[in-house]
């Protein structure tokens, strides 16, 4: 396939995943804020930290309160990571890929785009928000299900999967990084209800039931992290995402460098799972390294297969590497 198309479909995968993950995160965070009594509450800026968009936010807003943060992450077109922008970008990518996607794909993305455009404004009101986010997640899942059951297992498929798994691994890493940073440092008094936060982190990944089947209902920070990082059977864990990328890349040519790199990352994830204790300082290093590892994998993908490696000036607007 054309390098240009490989790049577009990879980014389409990432943007759809980003839409879903952001919706999940926002939903879970809004819930946990209702559950926590005043003493245990978190600031809304936590979401900005997770999305790594603090500087951009403060260019446009003064305070990180609920109204501003929700608007910024949901509906703000100035924010390339907002749900509104992500869906638009996914659709833009799909527009140039129509000949490569199943017919229904294009229509589904149009529908999603329209849905977000119409509803995102109203969803800043809490009462509408949950339904809106749930519907957004459902629409993303519909798209993914359609792809899974109807897209031929060709290179398009592999790039789409790589995009989705890259984004998911990236988002989960950042979420856990920030959560661990805040929660493991809190005094016991502030943290009496942290168990609810860890539960909500699982919920954000739709992982509650799968986690319970494996671990019972107790949600210690260590068990939750271990599950979301290293549980290879769970499709949203970092380990599973990375394994899947390693699988996808088998089908692609010139994959040696990628394979060499991803093996290092897999080894580091395995090592984490074997650890018996959570030391905050080690954790920070671990998350930094994982983040770095993912970024490197992304660059390898870009330089090995994408057009930007051949003619970078033509595609600069495409590769929004704000995560790199």
């Amino acid at each position: 396939m054309l390098s240009r198309n490989a790049e577009r479909i990879y980014w389409m995968g990432r943007y759809i995943e980003r839409t879903e993950d952001t919706a999940r995160l926002l939903n879970a965070f809004s819930h946990v804020m209702m559950d926590l009594p005043k003493s245990g509450k978190l600031g809304w800026d936590v979401l900005l930290k997770i999305m790594a968009t603090e500087p951009l936010f403060y260019e446009h807003y003064e305070v990180a309160n609920e109204a501003n943060v929700v608007k910024f992450l949901l509906d703000d077109i100035e924010n390339p990571s907002s749900i509104r922008s992500a869906v638009r970008a996914a659709r833009e990518n799909a527009r140039t890929l129509r000949d490569r996607l199943p017919l229904e794909g294009w229509e589904m993305l149009n529908d999603l785009n329209l849905f977000i455009k119409k509803g995102a404004g109203d969803a800043s009101r809490k009462r509408n928000r949950f339904q809106f986010l749930t519907d957004t997640i459902t629409k993303c899942q519909c798209f993914n299900g359609m792809i899974r059951t109807t897209l031929s297992r060709n290179q398009s498929y592999e790039f789409l999967c790589m995009g989705a798994f890259m984004e998911r691994a990236d988002m989960t890493t950042r979420t856990l990084d920030i959560a661990a940073d805040i929660l493991l440092q809190r005094s016991d008094e502030d943290g009496v209800f942290d168990i609810h936060i860890w539960m909500e982190i699982l919920k954000a990944q739709n992982a509650v039931m799968m986690y319970r089947v494996k671990n019972g209902p107790r949600s210690s920070p260590r068990a939750v992290m271990r599950f979301l990082i290293g549980e290879e059977d769970f499709p949203r864990s970092i380990k599973h995402c990375v394994d899947s990328m390693a699988g996808s890349v088998q089908e692609l040519p010139r994959n040696e460098l990628f394979i060499e790199n991803i093996e290092g990352l897999i080894a580091s994830l395995d090592k984490f799972v074997e650890q018996n204790e959570l030391v905050p300082a080690d954790l920070r290093t671990f998350f930094d390294e994982t983040q770095q590892g993912l970024n490197e994998l992304h660059s390898i993908i870009a330089t090995t297969w994408f057009l930007s490696a051949v003619a970078p000036e033509q595609t600069q607007n495409q590769t929004q590497e704000e995560t790199a």
Partner: protein, 478 residues
């Protein structure tokens, strides 16, 4: 919503101190509801209905031989309780639970309290809840009733009193959790300005308590919830709790006792040892070898396995001996006897028909009293004297005369009230509160509990099997 239109109540109201003036704990709630138009309020009420249907919260009632799965009845206005007041109640509930468990263990072993004449022996000997098969046993931590759903009511003065100890298979806790989920969806704005203690951690505490009973000391003991099956009225709750705990939801046929007197589950990988069973079936259906031979729900040999300590059962078989309305009257004495403390939570005045004086009083004043059979639950077989006909009075007099030990009576209670949204606007209804207490290695109480409301105006019957509704219950930090 116009609070002026809320009919003033002669009872203790949970939200209003007096006409159009909220209690301190309800100030935010009061003002928030005031700011909503009636139309908006009705819209939220409809949204709550939809939400219940979407979440699939249901309960089953038996009607003319049919099982009807009904949507859970819910009123949208929460019932607030101050956190400071709750601390005292929590202490009282823990104290009561400890004494009750000491009592059950005593009754099945030394019977010291009977020998000392504190509790009359005939109450135990004559009780259908006393199981001879349990004599001489001491379950883990000496605790028999691991889960209790104690019914509390506020009287006319606003004092919380214990109405009933439910020590057999109390239900309702899943609805407590779901009610909060619904309120968060219907009134999300309310949670910003107030500090409301979360309730969703119950399953974790339940799991920890059950795990603390495991005969094997392993990190993940195998826990199973034993349900009578989908026709049970609380099946929703059984599956809810199993799901929330990551435990296996089993029916009798999924379990068997092997020649080593251990309980196993039948799985695709062969038999799997079970450590702890949270049973939601009644004592007498548990084991066909010991009790009801025709039971389709039980596991033959399970009592053998339990007696040998190879499996833990919660609540332990026989716990119901402390859960009848005559033994109830002696709980304050038990607290004194076992713990050498005064009861923190008072009982409701109870006349025991096996005592001559109380018997005569009950027969003479039956039109003023509530008469209850000692072994029933779910609000069945009760006479509410002031609301009954002369003929019904006569019928109950005859019943009491025939078997005085089977009856107790209590004065009519001025149950507290709270506003509910009806088609005509806000109106007051009577309610009670069922907190849940867990005792294994440690003792723990839910933050609040399940508030049940009599949805019929003036009615005192809150049981969901008889048309009762429910409310989200808030423990509010102020």
């Amino acid at each position: 919503m116009k609070w002026n239109a809320y009919d003033p109540t002669p009872f203790y109201d949970e939200v209003l101190e007096k006409n159009a003036k909220p209690r301190p704990v309800a100030k935010h709630l009061f003002n928030y509801l005031k700011s909503l138009e009636n139309k908006e309020l009705q819209a939220r009420k409809e949204a709550s209905q939809l939400c219940i249907e979407e979440m699939g919260v249901s309960f089953t009632i038996y009607s003319e031989g049919n099982n009807i799965d009904r949507d859970w009845p819910f009123d949208i206005i929460p019932r607030p309780i101050p956190a400071d007041e709750w601390k005292g109640i929590e202490k009282g509930l823990i104290q009561r639970m400890k004494a009750l468990n000491l009592f059950i263990n005593d009754v099945y072993n030394d019977q010291q309290i009977l020998k000392d004449g504190i509790v009359p022996r005939h109450l135990i000997d004559g009780s259908s809840n006393y199981l001879k098969a349990c004599e001489g046993i001491t379950p883990p931590h000496g605790v028999w009733a691991n889960i209790s759903g104690t019914d509390l009511v506020r009287d006319g003065e606003g004092t919380f009193r214990v109405l009933e100890d439910n020590l057999r298979v109390p239900s309702g806790v899943s609805y407590m959790i779901e009610n909060r989920q619904i309120t968060k969806r219907i009134f999300p704005e309310l949670f910003d300005t107030q500090s409301i203690l979360p309730v969703s951690d119950y399953p974790v505490h339940l799991y920890d308590m059950l795990a603390s009973l495991s005969p094997r000391e392993i990190e993940f003991p195998v826990i199973a919830v034993l349900t009578p099956g989908i026709y049970n009225s609380a099946y929703f709750e059984h599956s809810f709790l199993a799901q929330e705990m990551g435990a296996e939801l089993v029916e009798g046929a999924d379990l068997f006792v092997d020649t080593d007197d251990c309980v196993y589950m039948r799985t695709v990988n062969g038999k799997k040892l079970v450590d702890v069973i949270y049973r939601r079936i009644d004592d007498t259906f548990l084991d066909q070898e010991v009790f009801n031979k025709d039971s389709m729900l039980g596991v033959p040999g399970i009592m053998r396995a339990w007696k040998k300590g190879n499996v833990a059962i919660a609540n332990a078989p026989g716990s119901g001996v402390a859960d009848d309305k005559a033994v109830y009257a002696y709980v304050p004495d038990m607290i004194k006897y076992y713990l050498n403390e005064e009861a923190i939570l008072p009982n409701v005045k109870t006349f025991l028909c096996h005592i001559e004086e109380d018997y005569n009083y009950t027969l003479e004043n039956i039109d003023k009293l509530v008469v209850k059979p000692v072994n029933e639950s779910g609000g069945y077989g009760i006479l509410i004297g002031p609301r009954a006909t002369k003929q019904e009075h006569e019928e109950f007099r005859a019943l009491i005369k025939a078997n005085p030990r089977n009856y107790v009576s209590q004065p009519m209670l001025d149950l507290s009230t709270a506003p509910v949204i009806t088609d005509e606007g806000a109106s007051h209804r009577h309610l009670d509160l069922r907190p849940f207490i867990l005792q294994g290695k440690d003792c723990w109480v839910t933050k609040g509990g399940l508030t049940r409301v009599a949805m019929v105006k003036g009615s005192l019957v809150v049981n969901s099997s008889q048309g009762g509704g429910s409310k989200d219950t808030w423990i509010v930090e102020t």
